[in-house]
């Protein structure tokens, strides 16, 4: 029984590793991740910045938790060799320089992760002004990657 369980765990792990397989698949997963992020940042923007009178603590906290979850999911795995070329849901906008700039990317990507986790923490308090400030900081970290490794159409 124990052997079977171990085997199942190993298989599951192997499958998870294989998920980030072909180039197109990696691009699709990351494009999906960012559009899911966009949905959630959009929700926060609406309730915290544009229409604060509609602020709902739980709704915003759920969005912030979703953002943090995506940030913590290890998106870096989706940037395998050759993924600057290829079509996922649409043509990837990853600059080829990404692969030479990995150290810089790591720095800005970690800033994003920290900001996302902090936002989830702040959102849990329900302090709308603090959320707005941290939400702005999160936006700055998004920009960090956009400026560094994203193709401007």
């Amino acid at each position: 029984m124990k052997t079977k369980l171990t085997l199942a765990i190993i298989l599951a792990t192997a499958t998870a590793a294989a998920v980030a397989g072909p180039v197109e698949e990696q691009i699709r997963f990351r494009q999906s991740a960012y559009s899911f992020l966009g949905w959630n940042t959009g929700k926060i923007k609406k309730q915290v910045v544009d229409h604060p009178e509609t602020f709902n603590k739980d709704y915003v906290a759920a969005a912030a938790n979703a953002i943090a979850a995506v940030a913590n999911s290890g998106l870096g795995e989706l940037y395998g060799a050759g993924t600057d070329q290829g079509i996922g849901w649409k043509t990837s906008r990853l600059r080829p320089e990404f692969f030479q700039k990995k150290d810089e990317v790591t720095v800005v990507a970690n800033h994003f992760n920290e900001a996302a986790n902090e936002l989830a923490k702040v959102a849990a308090t329900g302090d709308i002004n603090a959320i707005k400030t941290q939400f702005g900081k999160l936006g700055e970290t998004c920009k960090g990657c956009h400026d560094l490794i994203r193709i401007k159409e």
């Binding site: 910045v49 700055e140 920009k143």
Partner: protein, 234 residues
């Protein structure tokens, strides 16, 4: 014999220096990003108002503010390059720069209104564009138009420096005071651009900006922000 004339009317100067401040502010807010992007959008709309104002003022403003008085026609350009152009106001080469700046700023504002930074900012007309790839292209064009603006501004400032150092002419002071000492022979009376025209133009420019912010809802009602009373249970 020299006389002092009012070469740049007050509205033209107000336009010029407001534009300088607004462009700098737009650059700073876009560079810092985050929550300042909303201010970037507001400043961009203010620049829209300035441009609309200037385009109208180019027809109803005073003598040297009118496009017709300095439009860089080929004969004028040729005369200038041969050193035979002796008039007041924008010289033909400078006039080319003026029109290039106005055109590029219009492109910058036009694309900006329809742009998103794919983070948490959308220009006020972004929702009117339905094509996803067109949205991306407009945002990209916005960045390229800004790079071109930098080139034009470098030329603009270099020319002012050239006039100051080589031709011993101060171009900045007249743009501040409006006054310029000119040979009497060249001085023709400055006409047009009175207060009624000024306020009318301001009102029209303001109406355009209002239309962009509020009017978009009239054309295509934006779905009102959802107000979930409770968080969805699934």
């Amino acid at each position: 014999m020299k006389v002092t004339i009012r070469i740049w009317d007050f509205p033209t100067r107000l336009f010029h220096w407001s534009l300088v401040l607004a462009v700098v502010a737009a650059y700073i807010t876009a560079t810092l990003g985050g929550n300042l992007m909303d201010w970037h959008g507001r400043i961009g709309s203010f620049i829209l108002g300035l441009l609309v104002f200037r385009l109208i003022w180019g027809f109803v403003g005073s003598t040297y503010a009118r496009f017709g008085s300095f439009f860089p026609t080929l004969p004028r350009l040729a005369a200038y390059l041969k050193g035979r152009w002796h008039h007041l106001g924008h010289n033909p080469l400078g006039a080319l720069a003026v029109f290039a700046l106005l055109a590029d700023l219009s492109l910058l504002v036009g694309t900006g209104l329809c742009s998103s930074d794919d983070i948490a900012f959308e220009g006020p007309l972004f929702k009117l564009v339905n094509d996803e790839s067109l949205k991306d292209k407009l945002s990209g064009l916005h960045a390229q138009a800004f790079n071109f603006l930098l080139v034009l501004l470098a030329l603009h400032i270099a020319s002012i420096g050239f006039y100051r150092v080589i031709k011993k002419t101060n171009l900045i002071l007249p743009m501040l005071t409006g006054k310029k000492e000119v040979p009497k022979a060249l001085a023709i009376p400055v006409t047009g651009g009175g207060p009624v025209r000024f306020f009318t133009t301001v009102i029209i420019a303001g109406a355009v900006v209002w239309g962009v912010w509020g009017g978009v809802e009239l054309i295509k009602p934006v779905e009102s922000a959802p107000v979930p009373v409770t968080t969805p249970s699934f």
